[in-house]
């Protein structure tokens, strides 16, 4: 469980990552990752690994996935030159528009890929968790498309603040289970989804929505989301005539960020920046800034950075954005931080709300509150680095956040009259 990494080891780990050797056979990204799952789930995780080995490089499967991404999801998603923001920030700003993907967020890339995999593996039902509801909606849609029934676990707190997405899941034929245990947000929803899976591991497929969880999920989710970075890199060369100076994405569990970053890991000139939820501030329980202020630990099957106290109890978290309101983070992000390839900072609730407003006003785009954290972080970077080229992962659209935005006190940034 040693996490001190020397400079030579950092270099070696980055090289291995670039050669596609991480995670290794034991599911490790350097010291992070692994498979800390109950014995009941080990056979199911081994079947998943066999499915990945068999299908993720199978031309027929990849063709099906590609065709569905093109025809059904609407990929490639646009790269938008954000002239209004660029002018305001004194930078060249480009938005990778995952909000334009079917169901309104990057989550669909992973949900579709895993739903197709679940069907190939003969799953009779799909289980998923959701925080902001974007993964739930994506899973409901992908399962309807693949013809597999699904059950979505969602914290009671999130059901309230993301009501439009709950209705969408119902319309798409999913069963939505309100989770009343624990903190009643994403973390409790994952606990409950695991409990369901433990109860029925043979017939069920757990469609995990972020780059977290026991091996092989962090790998699988990254591979399915890597399309974001691949497209964005081509589009930058095509439209912007060069690579960005920095690529910025929000990080909760970290699936859109890992997908974007993977396209640029080998490009030394491209700085990479992940923005976590700074919430109300740095106080205990007031934020979800796992990489910025956590310590290594094990939650939901993987060893990664974690917000937990000195007794090892996982901390309560807060973010105005349900999708970032999670005490853990994907193990590959923990590695990327440890080897210094990606810098992780935070944006507060207020900064994110202000960024959301600015994006609405100057670009005519309502971003998700999650994505607004990336905008806020990018703006700060632009102020320190004038005139540079900034690529921002706009991970999703903000329609789902209307209940939160409508309920804001009038004097806060982001409220309608402020």
């Amino acid at each position: 469980m040693e996490t001190e990494i020397t400079a030579a080891e950092k270099k070696d780990l980055l090289e291995r990552l670039l050669r596609g050797e991480l995670p290794d056979d034991s599911g490790r990204f350097g010291p992070f990752g692994g498979c800390y799952a109950p014995e009941t789930l080990i056979p199911a995780l081994e079947r998943l690994q066999q499915g990945i080995d068999r299908y993720l490089h199978d031309p027929a499967f990849l063709q099906e996935f590609h065709d569905e991404l093109t025809q059904w999801v609407g990929r490639p998603t646009s790269l938008t030159i954000a002239t209004g923001l660029g002018k305001c920030w004194g930078a060249q700003v480009y938005l990778k528009r995952e909000d334009l993907a079917h169901t309104g967020a990057h989550k669909i890339n992973n949900a579709l890929g895993q739903a197709l995999l679940a069907r190939r593996l003969g799953a009779e039902r799909v289980i998923a968790e959701t925080g902001a509801g974007q993964h739930g909606v994506a899973t409901a849609a992908a399962c309807a498309r693949a013809g597999v029934p699904c059950v979505i676990y969602m914290g009671a707190v999130d059901i309230e603040r993301q009501a439009p997405n709950v209705q969408r899941m119902h319309q798409l034929g999913a069963e939505v289970v309100a989770v009343q245990s624990g903190d009643r947000t994403l973390r409790a929803a994952i606990n409950e989804a695991f409990r369901d899976w433990v109860s029925d591991p043979d017939r069920s497929y757990y469609l995990l929505g972020s780059a977290v969880g026991p091996h092989p999920y962090p790998f699988l989710v990254r591979e399915l989301q890597a399309v974001i970075g691949r497209e964005a890199r081509h589009q930058m060369l095509d439209i912007a005539d060069g690579l960005p100076d920095v690529a910025v994405a929000c990080v909760g569990g970290g699936s859109n960020a890992i997908g974007l970053f993977h396209g640029f890991l080998a490009d030394e000139s491209v700085a990479l920046m992940g923005i976590e939820a700074g919430g109300r501030g740095p106080g205990l329980g007031d934020h979800s800034a796992t990489l910025a202020s956590g310590r290594p630990g094990v939650l939901h099957g993987c060893y990664s950075m974690l917000l937990h106290d000195d007794q090892g109890q996982v901390q309560e978290t807060h973010s105005v954005s349900a999708g970032l309101d999670y005490p853990g983070v994907g193990p590959e992000h923990a590695l990327l931080q440890a080897i210094g390839r990606v810098t992780y900072t935070t944006a507060t609730d207020d900064e994110a709300l202000a960024a959301l407003r600015e994006c609405c006003a100057l670009e005519g785009i309502l971003p998700a509150l999650e994505s607004a954290h990336a905008l806020a972080g990018a703006k700060r970077w632009a102020q320190d680095h004038p005139g540079r080229r900034i690529l921002i992962g706009l991970s999703g659209r903000g329609d789902k956040d209307m209940p939160t935005l409508e309920n804001l006190p009038q004097d806060l940034p982001g409220s309608r009259s402020s």
Binding site: Y36, E39, T40, G182, V198, P201, H300, Q311
Partner: protein, 261 residues
């Protein structure tokens, strides 16, 4: 040479007080923190080995009862360090104690230190449901040096080759999870449970204890015919929550002593 802690566990299961070894589970410091050692002492008068639950904020393999108990215990300030302190000062515990809990609090405590402090406190072994054998080497090595057991769980879905491996690295007893699912869940045992237990016994040179979802004397009798011991968790915790006497409840599971040897 003195008896190693993990050997005490095996011996207690092999020579039970009743017709089958009973392995009761209590969540430490629940429902009454002040009465933790009293409750443990009472339970140890009937139980052959006692599992003491270390509460964790995210018990993902547990059903509603243990979730509720864990949450309340944490609220009351129960921690791994507190439990070990209490155990170190306890007297009159008449059965070997094993700690059952999730990995993260133990990881934070540190396995070397945990092994040392636990051995000093008289703990004989550990059950860590989210530490599968592929990840258990650091814990195993630290526990082994102190003669402490890292009890391995097997399930009906565990293939033969893996079951053999788990039975070989295990100490104390082999914990045969009788059904897939969380603790305390279903009311009836699966139909093929006896064949499954016979399969576990073929691989295990250690005594075998069956658990998950055991609530009645009839189930204890059925499982006892095919396993060396039976684990009782959620049903006992619910009995304690209701203010019941643990000894009487555990005796009732053994058929009020009628079937005792």
């Amino acid at each position: 040479m003195s008896v190693l802690p993990h050997e005490r566990i095996s011996a207690a299961i092999r020579e039970p007080r009743g017709h089958v070894a009973l392995v009761p589970y209590i969540t430490a410091g629940y429902p009454d923190k002040a009465r933790f050692i009293d409750t443990l002492r009472a339970v140890s008068k009937v139980g052959d080995v006692v599992e003491v639950g270390v509460p964790f904020s995210d018990p993902m393999a547990d059903g509603v009862t243990i979730q509720r108990a864990s949450h309340a215990a944490i609220q009351n300030g129960v921690s791994l360090a507190w439990i070990l302190e209490q155990l170190a000062g306890a007297e009159g515990i008449e059965a070997p104690v094993v700690l059952m809990g999730y990995l993260n609090p133990m990881l934070v405590f540190g396995f070397e230190r945990l092994a040392e402090v636990a051995a000093h406190a008289g703990v004989c072994g550990f059950i860590i449901p989210d530490l599968p054998c592929g990840e258990c080497r650091p814990a195993l090595e630290a526990f082994e040096r102190r003669g402490l057991a890292l009890i391995q769980l097997v399930t009906p879905a565990t293939p033969d080759a893996r079951m053999q491996q788990l039975c070989e690295i295990g100490r104390g007893f082999t914990y045969a999870v009788t059904m897939t699912g969380t603790t305390g869940g279903a009311q009836s045992l699966p139909a093929d449970v006896t064949e499954y237990l016979d399969r576990v016994r073929r691989f295990s040179s250690l005594p075998v204890c069956a658990g998950f979802g055991v609530r009645e004397a009839g189930q204890v009798r059925l499982l006892g015919a095919h396993a060396d011991g039976v684990v009782v968790g959620s049903a006992l915790v619910e009995h304690l929550e209701a203010g019941g006497c643990p000894q009487a409840f555990l005796q009732s599971l053994l058929g009020a002593g009628k079937l005792s040897r």
